[in-house]
């Protein structure tokens, strides 16, 4: 998918919501556990109920790998279901991968070719040759960790390197990499005011923003500091939507929660 197609969807749906499909079998409604594939059954119901309210879905691979082969199969079914029924939706494999060159190419093939995701998240620690193999795929997007929303972000990401925070150094350096136009960035919403600085470095890139809702970020602030002329934001919510109800009405309640966020986004977009 091209960035232009993503922007078109955002304008059409009046939404820049991404829903995180982080399925924990201990948290989904009990009646689903009787299904042959409870993870996919859960995802399918969530997708069916919310696809008109969001522009992206983001399964975090950890939640699938934890269930072994069954989990990987559920991930495959989920992405296939999305690509077949909602090809206009932007899909994100939240995998946070990164390895030396030829190995990163294998990861890129896993997510871009075998599973046919539109994008994958990657970690920057190993530098240029660990990320460029992902960037080589046309119309695919590589979403690199910039400033994350967890407490540990302050351990290294905000330390000063050459007089500026490491995450800013990461953002700046990545702009010099080959096919850097295929980069997007993860920027945590718990530090919305940092977004102004970040926009100085990467004014045009899309930002994937986790941490609105459950992790305490504020949508208005994120938009105030982070939005650009093409919107340039994907706001992720996982638990706040998919686990809003643990009863049989979980998909309906998820849709209500998604609708609340979408309505707030429509209002922001209308200004």
């Amino acid at each position: 998918m091209t960035t232009a197609q993503l922007v078109e969807q955002i304008k059409k749906k009046q939404s820049f919501l991404c829903i995180g499909l982080d399925v924990d079998l201990n948290k989904i409604p009990e009646h689903l556990l009787k299904e042959e594939d409870p993870i996919f059954a859960f995802n399918k119901a969530i997708i069916d109920a919310t696809h008109h309210l969001c522009v992206a879905y983001k399964p975090n691979t950890a939640f699938y790998e934890a269930y072994g082969l069954k989990g990987w199969k559920a991930l495959e079914k989920t992405i296939n279901y999305l690509n077949e029924n909602h090809p206009e939706i932007f899909t994100i494999a939240d995998a946070k991968r990164g390895d030396i060159g030829n190995t990163s190419t294998m990861y890129a093939k896993a997510f871009f070719e075998d599973l046919a995701f539109d994008s994958v998240t990657v970690a920057p620690y190993m530098g240029k040759d660990s990320v460029e193999p992902f960037l080589a795929f046309q119309d695919k997007h590589t979403i690199m960790l910039g400033l994350t929303s967890n407490a540990g972000a302050f351990d290294f990401q905000t330390k000063l390197v050459d007089g500026k925070e490491l995450y800013k150094k990461v953002l700046e350096t990545s702009k010099t990499w080959k096919n850097s136009q295929n980069l997007m960035y993860v920027v945590g919403a718990t530090k919305a005011e940092y977004l102004a600085d970040i926009r100085q470095i990467i004014p045009d890139s899309f930002l994937l923003v986790p941490g609105v809702g459950a992790q305490g970020g504020n949508l208005q602030d994120v938009c105030k500091y982070g939005m650009n002329d093409s919107v340039g934001l994907l706001i992720n919510s996982s638990r706040g939507i998919i686990y809003a109800s643990k009863d049989e009405d979980y998909a309906q309640v998820a849709a209500e929660k998604a609708k609340e966020l979408q309505a707030e986004m429509a209002e922001i977009l209308s200004v």
Copy 2:
């Protein structure tokens, strides 16, 4: 597996060799492609031929994920084969994972419980709460990226933070984390002289050293600067062993290459 058991194996086998099982279907002998599961068939033959010469095997998850469900199944069969037939061997899931707390716990479950690896590699960018969930597992080992062996290591890892290189900051900081005794570190062999500095910071930890052979590192130098009283080193070789021959004799040639390294290690251990 405990660290003491690993050290015991090293002394018994006179080897601290780790063999990387990075199976690329384009690189294995052609006759294997007729097998039902070529990846596992390749791994099984390599393991059967080399298990007495090494103390650890390290499948890199990228090479399995790239083949989807079939790949994940081959990974599962490989680790099960190792645990059933060679429980004394230390197993490493080279996955370079890392995510926010509850998500890292899911990754830890995937590799320590579902697949029953002894250890997993992780990336440090997201800090303390992305690594500690792995450290909570008893007699399991978390091998964190310190200084990697690729060119991109110089993009961020060697930049100065508070007057010292980022990778040193990472090593130092990690020592303060809960259950840090379960940490080992990835340190690239292409910079053997850095090992002296690294040993100042983490004198007692095991180091997983990739990059001997194909990537140009020198075993003698690595041992000179990196060995401690408990040996404290696992030297990884992947391509130099498993792809030494592309013919039907591949397992035998792999064993010859492994034997060369093991003999060199035995000599170093005897001094």
